[in-house]
């Protein structure tokens, strides 16, 4: 039996037992009744004690949303979502927005501990060996978002001393209203698309980061999202602003319990980078993908966009997408500042009945702007995975450059891999290069590894990790190790 056939069979045997984050936390919640109308929005806004302008902003978004239609162009299929059959607000009852870790519900601390997320400031991720010559690790500050609200943010004092603001966005609305008002919706307007409009109307929490001019953020910032409650949509909103010459590296992780029904997650992330500023945004997306029969799992409909507003600004998106039943996500860069740089590094793994339609948009507006896209897609089981990307050179983008490499790996003959790039050049001195390949793991490589004593799982794991290396090396080290394990687990049965 050829190695790949066996791999396929093992993948087919793969059950939901492999999702290791599928437990549920029993905690007392404050939940809004199901349904979405202007009253729901007023309720959310009131619970969060928001200023009038924000309520108005939400309501305007809601009115736009009501006129919009759910997009159908992506290569994903799912039953119609009943937006009136969801809860739009769910928060742990005990003291939302605690001031210190001591005030956090111990049940929540245990949940994050179980997920391996260090909410104690002395804690570090264990079991990581620094590679030779690797940069010394920065400590990690974490904002933990449980269902709709932030439950803990660590290292705030250290960050404050450096001038960096890192807090739940609901707190930023209260404490830094002028910043939030200036930038919220400035990169992703409320009416940008169906899901961004919905998010703008009902978002509940998320992270806010502000790095002042000349400051390199002294630690990695991280938000860990956890969906727990049933029938609850999660709509978080992240806003990161880095002023001239500032820099920050931000990580995002997410998991959810295993449930038979699908859950909706529609986040919006906005990044603003000013002159010479740099933002590195990394995601390890591991929402519950559903079981081997395609039951349950998260609908992950996310709008992420960064604006390089100043000259030589740099925004880098790195994502490892292994979770969710359906993913619809295109982290993008608006390259406005002269010489600004956009990067997109992506690994998307789908197995069983997962569907992913993901990619990026690089809009080159300024002169000498540059972008790089490296997308690696791995499809197994009966899944479908699509890379969809847009590179657009506007008439003034003289000297702009783009390089795109999309590679797909198929494991098994019941899955699909698709590549849909849109390439638009309106400037003669701009240059676009695009390459794409689709193949499977070669029998030669498998035999070579196995003849050196590697088991089939180890061999597939090694080759898949090699295939993804150009992306994984962009992740901060802790995440890279995590991501490698995650790749293995997502293809478990073949990857060990």
């Amino acid at each position: 039996m050829p190695a790949v056939t066996e791999t396929r069979e093992q993948i087919e045997k793969l059950g939901q037992s492999t999702y290791r984050w599928g437990f549920e936390t029993d905690i007392e919640m404050d939940i809004a009744p199901k349904g979405l109308d202007e009253d729901t929005i007023r309720l959310i806004s009131a619970r969060k004690e928001e200023p009038e302008w924000l309520l108005e902003w939400r309501l305007a978004a809601f009115r736009q949303w009501q006129k919009m239609e759910e997009p159908e162009w992506a290569k994903v299929a799912y039953p119609k979502i009943d937006y009136q059959d969801l809860h739009y607000y769910a928060a742990p009852k005990k003291k939302p927005g605690p001031k210190s870790l001591d005030e956090v519900d111990p049940e929540l601390l245990r949940t994050y501990e179980k997920l391996g997320i260090p909410l104690h400031e002395q804690a570090m991720l264990a079991g990581v060996e620094p590679e030779e010559g690797a940069e010394p690790r920065l400590p990690i500050a974490v904002d933990a978002v449980f269902d709709s609200v932030s439950v803990a943010t660590t290292f705030r004092k250290t960050l404050q001393e450096a001038g960096v603001i890192f807090c739940p966005i609901s707190e930023a609305v209260r404490d830094y209203p002028e910043l939030v008002r200036k930038y919220l919706g400035s990169v992703v307007p409320a009416g940008d698309n169906f899901f961004s409009a919905l998010n703008s109307a009902v978002f509940t929490d998320g992270s806010f980061v502000y790095v002042p001019a000349g400051v390199r953020c002294p630690m990695e910032l991280s938000t860990y999202f956890r969906i727990n409650a049933r029938n609850t949509g999660q709509f978080e909103r992240t806003l990161i602003i880095v002023e001239d010459r500032g820099s920050v590296s931000y990580l995002e992780g997410c998991t959810a319990p295993m449930r038979d029904e699908n859950q909706l997650h529609a986040a919006v992330v906005e990044l603003v980078a000013m002159e010479d500023a740099s933002i590195k945004y990394s995601t390890v997306q591991n929402w519950y993908p559903g079981d081997e029969n395609g039951r349950g799992g998260i609908y992950n409909f996310v709008t992420k966009r960064g604006a390089c507003r100043g000259a030589r600004a740099r925004i880098s998106w790195t994502q490892v997408e292994t979770g969710s039943a359906v993913t619809w996500k295109y982290p993008s860069c608006i390259l406005q500042g002269e010489g600004s740089v956009g990067e997109f590094y992506s690994v998307a793994v789908t197995n069983n009945f997962q569907q992913a339609d993901t990619g990026t948009k690089m809009i080159h507006i300024g002169r000498n702007t540059r972008s790089t896209i490296i997308a690696k897609t791995i499809s197994a089981g009966r899944s479908d995975s699509t890379y969809r990307g847009l590179v657009r050179m506007m008439p003034k983008a003289s000297g702009a450059r783009n390089f795109t490499q999309c590679d797909s790996l198929l494991i098994g003959d019941q899955c699909g891999a698709h590549t849909v790039p849109y390439i638009e050049n309106r400037n003669m001195s701009a240059r676009i290069e695009h390459e794409a390949t689709t193949s499977r793991i070669s029998e030669d490589q498998m035999f070579y590894c196995r003849s050196r004593g590697l088991s089939e799982e180890d061999a597939v794991g090694l080759i898949v990790n090699g295939f993804c290396k150009d992306v994984l090396k962009e992740l901060p080290m802790e995440f890279a190790v995590e991501a490698q394990k995650l790749l293995a687990i997502s293809l478990e049965g073949s990857v060990g």
Binding site: M1, P2, A3, E129, S442, E443, D444, Q445, F447, Y448, C449, R450, S451, R452, G453, L454, S455, E456, D458, A459, L462, I463, N465, G466, F467, C468, K469, D470
Partner: protein, 256 residues
Amino acid sequence: MSNFLKISGLHAKIEADGGDKEILRGVDLEIPAGELHVIMGPNGCGKSTLAYTLAGREDYEVTAGSVSFKGQDLLAMEPDERAAAGVFLAFQSPVELPGVNNANFLRTAVNSVRRARGEAEMDAVQFLKTVRAATKSLSMQDEMLKRNVNVGFSGGEKKRNEVLQMTLLQPSLAILDETDSGLDVDALRIVADGVNKLRAPDFSALVITHHQRLLDYLSPDRIHVMAKGRIIRSGGPELARQIDQDGYATFLADAA
């Protein structure tokens, strides 16, 4: 210990151009423990097929015959089980593994084999020490460890990398499939040294080659001539010299 490696009546075919093609047509060969045997033969006679079949390549289907290795049925084993059991094939064309770091690959292989043999796995420090000692003895740059497996390696570097793997995996049967092809004299000597260092009463080797050159450094015990999928002649080292001088023509005529 004549039951070290015993190949009896081995037939194997490969699927090619929609049909099956029989390549091995009844190979009989015994290699006792501690001996170094050589297979020579014209192109297309089945030498590489024999090597691949012994290492367990799936596209070669064994249709008849048996191979016993240290009392075990070798043909019933998966390729990685064969490696753990002590079979090592040095590939004629080593495969490139893009993105896979060479050191990481070596360590994964070594520890897989050690685990299967019931030995303790090596930690990073131990492994690094072992591998550095090995690279030094093979005159290899440590830099090769940081590169991706065989990617962008020259022909000579690839072959040395094979010998490095052999040194680290400590096989009891090494099969060298034209490891000497395309090597200069210095590299040739390094390959031979690698084999000679492993020579022991419980280590055997099967060397596939076209040339006497490599054999000058190896002192083989037996030479076998292969043609049309069978061993047609066996003899002592003098056989290799005879082939080097006269070619295969006389043997082929005899066999016909």
